[in-house]
């Protein structure tokens, strides 16, 4: 059996929406389990006394990365059919910076704000309204900035392709960096947890 199932025609558009809902339930469940329905827990990442954001995110990335790697090697997953967001380094670097600032100011990112507002956090509800306001503002200025947003297209491209390294080697390096990061994050937490 070859996957992605949807791309191989195992089910249609309508059923994929049901799959989206079920996957969303799993996503939201684990976000809340991790404590990401709380802006204080999320913001703690930037004050170094609780590095859960880093730990959860990198564990998830490593888990899914190893999953697609092994399924690809076994011939069960056609990675070429998994959608990659096209790379435009300029807007993605600026966007990341702006989003990072918004994270510390607002306390959430879009996904975690949904988990938080669903569990009754009023600040997350205001945050979501802010996303709507920001999206509306963005839509108004988009015609003026679309040159920048679409500049320097690199297409759908991966780190192994850009650095001309074997996929497996890059995966191995990411795992090593993650493990060292987890160890470092725990040391940092220990150092900063005692602060008021």
């Amino acid at each position: 059996m070859m996957t992605p199932l949807f791309k191989y025609g195992f089910f249609g558009e309508e059923f994929s929406l049901l799959v989206a809902f079920v996957l969303g339930v799993g996503f939201g469940f684990f976000l809340e389990r991790a404590g990401f329905g709380s802006a204080r827990k999320l913001a703690a990442q930037f004050y170094l006394y609780d590095m859960s954001v880093f730990k959860v995110m990198f564990t998830a990335i490593v888990t899914a990365m190893l999953g697609v790697t092994y399924l690809g090697w076994l011939g069960w997953l056609d990675l070429d059919l998994v959608y990659l967001v096209p790379t435009h380094l300029g807007p993605q670097v600026v966007g990341g910076l702006v989003l990072g600032v918004g994270f510390v100011v607002g306390g959430y990112c879009p996904g975690t704000s949904v988990a938080a507002l669903a569990t009754g956090r009023f600040d997350a509800m205001l945050y979501a309204l802010g996303i709507f306001a920001g999206t509306f503002a963005y839509a108004q200025v988009y015609p003026a900035i679309q040159g920048f947003v679409n500049a320097n297209p690199m297409g759908q491209v991966t780190l192994p392709e850009v650095f001309e390294l074997p996929w497996g080697l890059v995966v191995f390096v990411v795992v090593i960096i993650a493990v060292l990061g987890f160890w470092g994050a725990t040391l940092v937490e220990r150092r900063f947890r005692s602060e008021p």
């Binding site: 989206a20 404590g35 204080r40 959860v56 993605q92 990072g100 945050y127 963005y138 839509a139």
Partner: protein, 188 residues
């Protein structure tokens, strides 16, 4: 018949985190999230997301109130489509509705779902809500510039070794740490 014993007090996982069961170990939660993401790749051939659902919903709302404006806008046109499909009949909209349902389920099971405002001890509720709104606006701008947020770019693209996603993720931490000191009154 045995007497019912009162529940033992539960220690908050974060200082001042309030009542409710302690949070799940971050590595176990990460493996759970990673398996959901992997399931998305295997089942549908795409990753998870969030900000796109807000774009669809906003485009739909603006199209209800001011259809001429929405349909003339380059950005909202993309989310409205050619008019044959309802703008809310989008993959990410269904996924995000699931996120709300899954989070509520987890929050109710753990006794963490309650009406409250998440903030540090030194900031007033009004200022905190204002910051949340401003943060949401900034986040929206950043996410649209970057073609995705922490879910669609960092998490999904991170696992697929997407070049733009790794550049984006690095800059999220740079941006966050750059302003953390100036915003500490809100959290500590």
């Amino acid at each position: 018949m045995t007497a019912r014993l009162p529940d033992p007090p539960r220690a908050p996982a974060v200082a001042g985190a309030g009542p409710g069961a302690p949070y799940l170990n971050p590595y176990l939660a990460g493996i759970g999230l990673g398996l959901v993401l992997l399931a998305a790749f295997v089942l549908v051939g795409r990753g998870l997301g969030a900000s796109g659902a807000f774009s669809s919903t906003l485009s739909w709302l603006v199209n209800l109130v001011a259809p001429a404006h929405a349909q003339a806008n380059l950005y909202m046109q993309d989310y409205l489509g050619d008019g044959t499909t309802h703008p809310l009949k989008a993959w990410l909209v269904f996924e995000v509705v699931g996120v709300a349902a899954g989070a509520l389920l987890s929050g109710l099971l753990a006794g963490r779902a309650r009406f409250t405002v998440e903030k540090g001890p030194r900031v007033s509720t009004a200022i905190r809500l204002l910051c949340a709104f401003a943060g949401g606006m900034l986040m929206a701008f950043g996410a649209h510039l970057a073609r995705g947020c922490t879910s669609g770019q960092a998490l999904t693209g991170g696992a697929l070794l997407n070049v733009g996603s790794w550049a984006f993720m690095l800059m999220v931490f740079v941006g966050g740490y750059a302003v953390a000191w100036f915003m500490r009154w809100q959290w500590r």
